[in-house]
């Protein structure tokens, strides 16, 4: 390896001259509870409708109303949809943060702002577009209450003009967003037009950013990960759902309730083919899922870190009593209450071994909304196949933000209900022993209350293969050894990793979950900036597939990239790997609560590879200190 100095730079952009097409990020700074979400989603969808790859991320406080919120849209012709640190185009709607927001921009960035904020007095190296929002909205709407909500649509109109976004697509997006409320559509439409007209008459385009039609999003959908997981759960045939509200997972069950009520009511009787309970806490939520799973239902719960902590004892019961259940962990920043509205991958280790004793759990790691859907379906099959809790490890960034995706395919495989005892099996195996390893795969047969098959007593205390209470050393050991065999067998049933081997690469990269998107971009940066070729292994499940070891073996150094402080996935891998392979592993860690970005990865890899790198700006400036008064 010959370390060299590389000039690390973003794509060369000369502000003020030329045009930057489909490659920039817009940030809208507002106050939460001000109804800006509609305007932001309309903006996002209209860019998407113009065929340009796009992503939207909401950076919000743990609070109901009145605190600063930032919505960032990244449009990128190359399909990079991870967060990027630099903001090219700011819409400053929040008087509280406007100054700081403007100060945090790179020179040459553009800013649309409320005239009264006089941001042009703060610095002079930006492109300023002052808009008299109050005056404009007064002409649209007389109702003072409504004004506040509709006001935001004006900046959409201004941006449509400045960024050359097709106004028709904005109108389509607006219809989509508010279609069921014709009055609201009309009012917002007017605001849109007023904004557009104002920009048309008053602004000369002085920034380089424009959106031009492409054909990269045809046929695609826009959705949040939580909604995708909800659709997956419904298509998996979930029948019992128990949950307790917590950000960022609440919208998973809330969306699921909506879908179930629309699509899972028995036509003949008008009754529900599902039961949803808002439980008294997460202990009860998992208890209900475990009770339902034991009684034969496809049962689930959804939560985030604090809830997972509470679920420990039941997770252990599910593992040892061998009861299927699906748990969605939409991870947020810990420890403790942590940063409830920020993203992390910090529950990997605690979930892998959740509960006391020799407990281990199956985990799935979706990295896209498409995988939130497909892994939700898969999780229910795995839970019943292996008669154990299965954790679907998503995160706030995936769960609550809006992502592009190909439409979800209809499940091809029928439901896999696993080894449920029936007459024929009973005849074949002779006497029923609930925990007997009849097939040699560690997975026993189970009967279900009410099915008229022989009953058994399920318990979290010691038991033998006949499900009788036992404290005998050999019974205990045989049982937990079988559980270990079962876990080992699950390895090859877990979703396969996505592997890209580059024959010239001596460096490997391992990532999982939402980190994937920044990795895709970073690998291109490494190649472009330092001619560093890399191979890539994306983990999709735990226990790891055997392919993990062979991937590491092919490379001299392997960077495990994740969004936590302690390198949790790397630690988990160490347990499976030979010392020679462990020595090849390095960590790239990102744990500010903001979604990981490509630049951070690239810089860290380059530094660890011995390059000298000018560190780019830190993220701290984006979130003012006073924003932290929430907590949930």
């Amino acid at each position: 390896m010959a370390p060299a100095e590389v000039a690390v730079q973003e794509a060369p952009v000369v502000h003020g001259t030329g045009r930057v097409v489909n490659d920039f990020s817009i940030q809208v700074a507002t106050v939460n509870g001000s109804g800006s979400q509609t305007a932001n989603l309309v903006l996002l969808r209209s860019i998407f409708r113009m065929g340009v790859p796009v992503s939207g991320k909401n950076l919000f406080p743990s609070n109901i109303a009145g605190l600063p919120t930032w919505f960032t849209i990244r449009a990128n012709k190359d399909g990079y949809i991870a967060r990027k640190k630099e903001i090219d185009f700011l819409v400053a709607m929040n008087p509280e943060t406007a100054r700081e927001d403007a100060l945090s921009l790179e020179s040459g960035a553009a800013v649309v702002y409320d005239e009264g904020l006089a941001l042009d007095a703060v610095r002079d190296d930006l492109v300023f577009y002052p808009v008299p929002f109050d005056k404009l909205i007064a002409g649209v709407c007389t109702d003072v209450k409504l004004r506040r909500l509709v006001r935001n649509m004006i900046y959409d109109g201004v941006l449509a003009k400045l960024l050359e976004i097709d106004l028709q697509q904005m109108e389509y997006a607006l219809q989509k967003q508010l279609g069921s409320k014709p009055k609201a559509v009309a009012l917002n439409q007017q605001a849109l037009e007023v904004g557009f007209a104002y920009a048309d008459q008053h602004f000369e385009k002085r920034d380089p950013y424009v959106i031009a039609p492409m054909n990269e999003t045809a046929g695609k959908i826009l959705i949040e990960g939580n909604a995708a997981a909800a659709i997956g759960a419904m298509m998996a045939g979930v029948t019992v759902v128990a949950w307790y509200p917590i950000t960022p997972s609440s919208s998973l069950c809330e969306t699921l309730i909506d879908y179930l009520q629309k699509h899972r009511i028995d036509e003949r009787t008008g009754k529900a083919t599902f039961a949803v309970v808002q439980a008294e806490d997460e202990i009860a939520a998992l208890g209900m899922a475990v009770g339902a799973g034991w009684a034969g239902a496809r049962a689930m719960t959804s939560t985030s870190g604090p809830g997972v902590s509470l679920m420990g004892e039941f997770a252990g019961l599910g593992y040892y009593g061998e009861v299927p259940a699906v748990i969605f962990d939409v991870q947020r920043v810990g420890p403790s209450t942590g940063l409830p509205t920020r993203t992390a991958q910090g529950d990997v280790l605690s979930t892998a071994f959740l509960s006391h004793g020799d407990t281990r759990h199956l985990m799935l790691f979706p990295s896209s909304v498409g995988e939130c859907y497909s892994m939700a379906v898969e999780a229910f099959d795995l839970a019943e196949r292996f008669q154990t809790p299965v954790f679907v490890m998503t995160d706030l960034d995936l769960g609550m933000n809006t992502w592009m995706s190909d439409p979800f395919p209809y499940p091809e495989k029928p439901l896999d209900r696993g080894k449920v005892l029936d007459e024929e099996t009973l005849e074949r195996i002779g006497r029923f022993g609930r925990y007997r390893d009849v097939d040699g795969d560690g997975v026993p047969y189970r009967s279900v209350p009410g099915d008229k098959m022989p009953a058994y007593f399920c318990r979290g205390s010691g038991h033998n293969e006949w499900a009788q209470y036992s404290e005998r050393p050999d019974d205990y050991q045989n049982n937990v050894d079988r559980l270990a065999r079962k876990f080992e067998n699950a390895r090859n049933w877990m979703p396969a990793p996505v592997v890209e081997i580059n024959r010239q690469a001596s460096i490997g990269i391992i990532a999982y979950g939402t980190t994937h998107w920044a990795v895709v971009e970073s690998r291109d940066q490494l190649k472009a900036e330092a001619e560093l070729e890399t191979s890539y292994y994306r983990v999709c499940g735990y226990p790891f597939r055997p392919a993990l070891a062979s991937f590491i073996e092919r490379h001299e150094r392997v960077y495990v990239i994740e969004q936590n402080r302690d390198g949790q996935m790397l630690s988990l891998m160490k347990l499976d790997l030979e010392p020679d392979l462990v020595r090849r592993l390095r960590s790239v860690l990102h744990y500010s609560g903001l979604p990981i970005d490509a630049r951070s990865i690239t810089d860290s890899v380059l530094i660890q590879e011995g390059y000298r790198v000018q560190k780019t700006g830190a993220d701290t400036s984006r979130v003012p200190r006073q924003a932290g008064v929430g907590g949930e």
Binding site: H263, V290, W294, A295, G450
Partner: protein, 347 residues
């Protein structure tokens, strides 16, 4: 059931089962433990009511009491969950299959301490379940510490005096919406059997607090949960006669002396009043009698409160009549057109 070979035909119930078919494995609890007597009463009540064991799920938390489901209805499914969390497991099981008969057994520690949160919410939901607290005022399994139902001033075996007031689980259950609330004593065979049979006829949460002395840690002088104390201070509200729906018996009584309550399945309860005007359909009176007997240092037993017709949790959730657990794929996985429509709406 044909028993041609046997000259002595054993007594069978209405579904052709013998009493022994309701037994479980041999108890491992202490000889004389109240919990064993309650198991016997459950066996008797289920036998007499002709309950199909394969429809029963036995649920419990952790404790000596929570072990007892292993000692009755051996051919029924059972789930010995974690400490204090039987209500959630029972809720899940009943949601999965509403045709099951859920019998839950808990202890006063399992319910009143670690499990009070789940207990409270179970009562609110009126889930169809029989919830039995085997109440000995102490933690038997962890060797005799006070539980939250121990009376103020009651003395532990070690001589320590309890300095906190008790939780009255019956008052709590009534307050929270349970639709069948009774208190009994493991030593009162007739009353407990009648109450258990009535509970099996009820649809909704039947909460039974059964005084069940712990002979090993809480049966001494100075304890208010000993056999001697229970016998001396048991204050029955009524004499209960239970006539199941499948028996054609009518009981004559003098007007004004007895109250007749028709249960969900058509069974009838005849409550011969011992206390002048006690009416178990009256919530306010129920709460008052609990307070009054307690202030006299006694405990009222019998059917304390009943609301024979009240929507249960499954009605409230409007769940289909068939068990959710076994609905076929075509009823739980929406067709492709549904997914396609959802996808279209997201473009």
């Amino acid at each position: 059931m044909a028993v041609a070979t046997s000259p002595v035909r054993k007594k069978v119930n209405r579904i052709g089962l013998e009493s022994r078919e309701y037994r479980g494995s041999k108890t491992t609890l202490c000889a004389g433990c109240g919990h064993n007597a309650i198991s016997e009463r459950i066996i008797g009540a289920c036998f007499e009511m002709g309950i199909e064991p394969e429809r029963v799920v036995k649920l419990s938390g952790i404790g000596c009491s929570s072990k007892s489901p292993a000692y009755f209805l051996g051919s029924a499914h059972g789930f010995n969950a974690v400490h204090g969390r039987m209500p959630s497991v029972g809720t899940g099981a009943m949601l999965a299959n509403r045709n099951l008969v859920a019998i839950g057994v808990s202890g006063d520690g399992d319910t009143g301490a670690i499990g009070i949160g789940q207990f409270v919410h179970l009562m609110r939901r009126n889930l169809p379940i029989i919830y039995i607290i085997e109440d000995n005022g102490c933690y038997g399994l962890t060797k005799g510490q006070f539980s939250p139902t121990a009376d103020l001033g009651s003395k532990a075996k070690t001589g320590v005096v309890n300095d906190l007031p008790p939780i009255d689980t019956c008052a709590l259950a009534i307050e929270l919406g349970a639709s069948f609330v009774a208190r009994s004593f493991s030593g009162d065979k007739k009353q407990l059997t009648a109450i258990l049979k009535a509970a099996l006829s009820h649809r909704g949460t039947a909460m039974l607090d059964v005084l069940s002395p712990c002979v090993t840690f809480n049966d001494h002088e100075g304890s208010t949960k000993s056999y001697a104390y229970a016998k001396a201070h048991d204050d029955p509200l009524e004499e209960i006669d239970f006539v199941p729906f499948f028996e054609d018996i009518s009981i004559d009584y003098e007007p004004g002396t007895t109250q007749e309550v028709v249960m969900h399945d058509g069974s009838k309860l005849y409550l011969k009043k011992l206390d002048a005007d006690y009416d178990p359909l009256n919530k306010v009176q129920a709460m008052r009698v609990l307070q009054e007997t307690r202030s006299r240092g006694e405990f009222a037993t019998g059917l304390i409160y009943v609301e024979p017709v009240k929507p249960d949790f499954l009605d409230v959730l409007n769940v289909v009549d068939e068990p959710l657990a076994t609905l076929p794929q075509e009823r739980v996985r929406p067709p492709k057109t549904v997914l396609d429509d959802i996808m279209e709406s997201l473009r």
